[in-house]
């Protein structure tokens, strides 16, 4: 997909001025946060599980090559096929190749962020194959021609009135006077429309929450059941997964499952956790004849062994964005690529380059709420700071900003000079403010005074007054 992250600032201004979006974002702030807290409080072992989940992924990443080997061997043993894709393009071509061999006309899709990352929908369409999103949220945004604005609630930015309008425009074969006011009726309509598409599809594409090295199994975690219909009904099942989804054993997956849903939606466990191993067997009466796994790198191996490796622990629960004041303010689309919120602020520059993604790690107050709720203990603010360091090392930030910082830092390293400067500033700004005690505008402080007053200094610095008082 086209990346608009370099225009993050103007995207944000647009988002802030969009009343529908602002109303929709209100739902995020209330629902997710309370539910997560209740779920976390309800399990005394939650913190211990977070620690263990982190340790499991750290161990896995330190041995990723070996676990990938073990995993792929098991997939082949169970009759499945493993395809290795270094880039998004490689992955797209592999999908197309499998679809062509299957003579596929339509492809159903379970929710998959990797499929967004490689832009598979547009690519399949260009090649005459119709991709059909089946997750309700994904279906809605596919009708709208949009990208997801949240990694687990893709249509979180859409109001129900907008869904109604989209359904009326798309489902023209249905009675024009039908009632579609309530979410219930919208859901029923989507269920009916999509049911036939599930049955007709030639290929089903899903993502994976985990790939189990011990058994060669892919795991999806869903609530609707669409992922299961996608991977059970068509003749061919393709799993799109990135290499860091590897998890060693059934037990390790169980451990992480306990923190995943609780952090994401506040459920103790999602409704459907499905383990798929190879194609259908002789003893099976349903399931796909072919089972393919595409293992995608797309820049992740560059993160291994660097200060960004910890990001590869991410299990895509969305808790970081659910708790992020910046995400709440601007929504997911402003981030301009596939992954929004704090995890996107680290991942986007990692996968798409700091030149394009530089805005995101800068657009953070470092409030740390993301890290405090991350089930995998990913130090998100620290990694955003590392991106700022890389940017600074490479002189990528604006010259005025760099020079301002350099001059300030030089003065801060000379306390005598600093103290004179502080006295002058304290006196000067206080004088400008006069009896008002605040300034509504001040040269060079427009970023501040555009939206808020600047409280005036008392007039003398603390150091000045302290020395005058004879303090030591």
């Amino acid at each position: 997909m086209k990346i608009t992250t370099p225009e993050f600032k103007s995207n944000a201004v647009e988002a802030l001025a969009n009343p529908n979006l602002q109303k929709a974002m209100g739902h995020v702030q209330v629902g997710f946060i309370e539910k997560r807290q209740t779920a976390a409080n309800g399990l005394p072992e939650f913190e211990a599980l977070r620690d263990n989940a982190r340790d499991i992924k750290n161990h896995t990443l330190a041995h990723l090559d070996l676990y990938l080997e073990a995993y792929s061997e098991k997939v082949e043993q169970s009759g499945g096929h493993v395809h290795w894709a270094q880039t998004a393009e490689d992955a797209r071509n592999t999908v197309l190749d499998i679809c062509r061999k299957a003579n596929a006309k339509t492809v159903t899709k379970g929710k998959s962020m990797i499929s967004e990352e490689i832009g598979i929908n547009d690519f399949l369409e260009e090649n005459g194959i119709a991709p059909i999103e089946t997750d309700l949220g994904e279906y809605i945004i596919q009708l709208r021609g949009e990208a997801p604005s949240h990694i687990i609630a893709p249509a979180v930015h859409v109001l129900k009135e907008q869904v109604e309008a989209d359904f009326r425009a798309e489902h023209t074969h249905l009675d024009a006077n039908r009632n579609l006011e309530e979410p219930e009726t919208l859901l029923d309509e989507a269920r009916t429309v999509l049911r036939q598409k599930f049955i007709d599809a030639d290929v089903g594409i899903t993502g994976a929450n985990f790939l189990i090295a011990e058994t060669g199994t892919s795991v999806i975690v869903t609530n609707e059941g669409n992922g299961d219909l996608t991977q059970t009904l068509p003749r061919v099942h393709i799993v799109l997964a990135s290499i860091e989804k590897i998890t060693p054993t059934l037990e390790d997956v169980s451990q992480i499952l306990r923190v995943l849903a609780r952090s994401a939606t506040g459920q103790e466990l999602s409704v459907y956790t499905t383990f798929s191993t190879g194609p259908r067997r002789e003893t099976d009466v349903d399931g796909p004849d072919e089972y393919h796994v595409i293992l995608l790198d797309n820049g992740r191996t560059n993160m291994i062994g660097t200060e960004f490796q910890e990001m590869l622990r991410c299990i895509r629960c969305g808790a970081c964005m659910n708790h992020c004041p910046v995400y709440h303010a601007v929504g997911g689309h402003a981030y301009g690529w596939v992954y929004p919120g704090p995890m996107g602020a680290v991942l986007t520059p990692s996968l798409e380059g700091i030149e394009k993604g530089g805005n995101l790690p800068n657009a953070s107050t470092f409030c740390g709420r993301c890290e405090s709720v991350c089930p995998m203990h990913i130090p998100l603010p620290k990694m955003m700071r590392h991106w700022r360091e890389r940017e600074f090392e490479r002189n990528l930030n604006p010259a005025a900003q760099r020079w301002g910082l350099k001059i300030w830092a030089w003065i801060a390293r000379h306390p005598g000079l600093y103290s004179i400067g502080a006295r002058v500033a304290a006196k000067g700004i206080a004088t400008l403010a006069g009896k008002n005690g605040r300034l509504s505008s001040l040269p060079l402080a427009g970023g501040w005074t555009k939206y808020r007053d600047l409280p005036a200094p008392e007039g003398q610095t603390f150091q000045q007054l302290w020395r005058a008082r004879g303090g030591r």
């Binding site: 802030l16 004041p325 910046v326 601007v330 107050t365 930030n397 910082l405 005690g437 605040r438 501040w448």
Partner: protein
């Protein structure tokens, strides 16, 4: 215990904008039985450079702070954000540097934020809090999440017989200040602080308190721009009873 020697890390914002907070901190520390020193060779903790990716300058500033303060028994700052910088982030800056690592660790272990220092280290049990009226308290992010400061300020406020604490909705959510963030991304910052001031206003408290002057200036500046009457002060001013002068951004 002998009278502990405390080096007061004033913070650049308190030094420049609000000396009253510095004097309040001195009063509170002395009341708790400390001997207070204010080294002249202090400027800033280095966060503006650190959070802009300029590690070299940050490190130079950190060396300066450590050298000026390491002789004291404790180093105390009236700011969770600056204290967290000294306590949590300085060690990271010197990681792998054999000459400094141990020295920084000894220094950082001695650093505390003012309010939590009073409750958790000096075990202050009685504080004659003179203020009478209603307050609401904003948990500044660094203090809350990096240093675990949450019950300590509430505990000290409760020592005032006439203090009524009215909790705002989401007191633990960022005010949108974020250092240079509030000017670099002023539109987003504004949206965040608007939600904060709305939550503050709903409490109908007379006074907004927090432990960090940066957040306070942001919230006070927004409240004043919105024409709201609630006043803002650093919690140390209320605890020390230094309430004679105007509140933050208030007319004289």
């Amino acid at each position: 215990m002998n009278q502990p020697k405390v080096g007061l890390f004033v913070t650049c914002l308190v030094d420049l904008f609000r000396p009253n907070v510095g004097f309040s901190a001195v009063d509170l520390l002395e009341h708790a039985g400390c001997e207070v020193f204010v080294p002249p060779a202090q400027t800033c903790c280095g966060q503006p450079a650190y959070n802009s990716g300029d590690r070299a300058d940050t490190r130079a500033i950190a060396e300066q702070v450590i050298t000026a303060f390491e002789k004291f028994d404790f180093v105390v700052a009236p700011s969770g954000s600056c204290a967290a910088m000294l306590k949590k982030h300085y060690p990271e800056l010197f990681q792998g540097d054999a000459d400094w690592q141990e020295r920084v660790k000894v220094f950082s272990d001695k650093v505390f934020e003012l309010v939590s220092f009073l409750t958790d280290v000096m075990f202050v049990q009685d504080l004659d809090v003179k203020f009478e009226g209603s307050v609401t308290y904003h948990d500044s992010c660094s203090g809350l999440r990096e240093l675990g400061i949450s019950h300590q300020p509430r505990k000290l406020l409760a020592m005032g017989k006439g203090v009524e604490l009215r909790e705002m909705k989401e007191p633990d959510v960022c005010c949108g200040f974020g250092g240079t963030f509030c000017v670099k991304y002023s539109d987003i910052s504004n949206s965040i602080v608007e939600k904060k001031t709305a939550n503050i206003e709903t409490t109908e408290a007379e006074l907004l308190l927090a432990g960090d002057l940066g957040c306070l200036m942001n919230m006070a500046g927004k409240l004043s721009r919105e024409g709201k009457t609630i006043k803002a002060r650093h919690i140390a001013e209320v605890l020390a009873g230094r309430l004679d002068g105007p509140a933050i951004g208030e007319a004289k």
